[in-house]
């Protein structure tokens, strides 16, 4: 019997062929391949989600290096638990849940340690380090890009000051653009709770960002 070199040789209808291709490259298919020991499939998953997960954890922790470490840990845990994964929900829900748990654990550790950066007192206001939310600078700005950058930094700082339970749903909803249903699955809570927490988070944020509104 002649072996097939590509999926085009299967002589499926076009729609069905596209569906098969999509299925072969879906997250679930990649995860199944990872389960059988396919390292390349896992590498594909990593390349698909590395930026999203790193960005999400960075928004949660406001610490880039820590976010990268936690994102790595997320993928390592995913690899370890690949046999236990159940494809009931979307893969993104699963990986975001791992990332959320890691980020929340890290935030709680920091709260217990109450780390205070000695260099923070001497940091310039370029936003490279955590510091208190500053009021808006009323001086006229020269560059639009600079304004946008400063605004983003202010938003990031405001988000980082949010209580832990409001932070994750707000980021998932307003930064990541996830649906309420998916956020509820990621956070393992009800949709009503998610909506309530997002509303409260926006109220907090509005108070902190009043100068920008």
């Amino acid at each position: 019997m002649e072996t097939l070199s590509s999926i085009d040789e299967l002589s499926f209808p076009v729609a069905l062929r596209q569906e098969v291709i999509a299925d072969l490259t879906s997250d679930h298919a990649l995860l199944e391949a990872t389960r059988t020991g396919d390292e390349d499939a896992f590498a594909e998953l990593v390349s698909r989600y590395r930026n999203q997960i790193t960005s999400y954890i960075y928004r949660m922790t406001n610490d880039y290096d820590g976010a990268v470490d936690l994102a790595q840990e997320t993928f390592v845990r995913l690899y370890r638990a690949v046999d236990r994964y159940q494809s009931t929900y979307a893969f993104s829900t699963y990986i975001y849940r791992i990332a959320t748990n890691l980020a929340i654990s890290e935030l709680r550790k920091r709260k217990r340690r109450r780390l205070v950066s000695l260099t923070g007192f001497f940091q310039s206001h370029d936003g490279s380090e955590n510091c208190e939310l500053d009021p808006i600078d009323d001086r006229p700005l020269q560059d639009i890009e600079l304004v946008a950058t400063e605004r983003r930094i202010a938003v990031q700082r405001a988000i980082s000051t949010l209580p832990e339970k409001y932070k994750a749903p707000l980021i998932l909803r307003d930064v990541e653009g996830r649906s309420y249903e998916e956020i509820a699955r990621i956070l393992q809570t009800s949709e009503g709770t998610v909506k309530s927490r997002i509303s409260r988070a926006r109220d907090f944020l509005r108070e902190k960002m009043r100068a920008y509104l």
Partner: protein
Amino acid sequence: MKVFNCKTVCREIEEADRGQLLSTSVTEHLAGCPKCQTFHDERIKLRQLVASLETVAAPPDFDFRVRSQLANEKAGAHAGFFFSNFSFGVPSIALATLVLMIGGVFALRAWNAPTSGPTALQTETRDVNPPNIVKTEQSPLAGKSELTKSELPLPDNKNPATATRDEGSETLRPVKRVAKRSSLNNTFAAVRSSKRVTTKEFSSTPAPVVKQEEAVASLESPIFLIEASSQPLRLSLDYSGGVSRTISVPALSFGSEKVLTGDGLSLVRNSPKGAW
């Protein structure tokens, strides 16, 4: 008919997706309600601000780092091959500690209570019961006594173990000795029945006196029977002319005492620990 109040409108604004158009009724309400219009504008601006946060890119060597971390974990798992199949969490450690504690308690109790074990009970039942004691002690001795009595040319055919010079006290002597033995065994039982190991001094207890000058003199071998007791052996030697010497040998026990029987066999009995 659905009534659109401010609360309902605010909820719809709040829950709307990014870029989603609001319903006609909400739009109409916003046109006539400045409070809701302000809320709407603030929320839109706020969401735009938050959404303006760009996606942060992972470092270029992210994949390499993940792979190396996984490789390190695999290497570590191979290094500790025995424990690689176990996941040591807090519950498993707590369970192991509990098992160790329970085992330690049992071991400690077994160590501290040697007299409460089945061996001690067996010894106690053998020793405490006076009829059994008399039987077990008398039966070999009695046999030997009979044998000795038949072999030895004793003028009065007395039992060497129980013989005395006084004829009148011959019938009373065994009863008295049995009473003495039972009281001694009761003391043993009292000592053994207590949980703690105790030591009792028996040197003050009077031992039965065995006077066997005639029997000893007639024996071919200088072996004669004594009671296997915990009491000291007192040997009185009467020389001619009214001179006598008494040799007292204290009772010694190293955990067991040997009772010689007439047939050459020996019966080893365990005595209670610490009592002699």
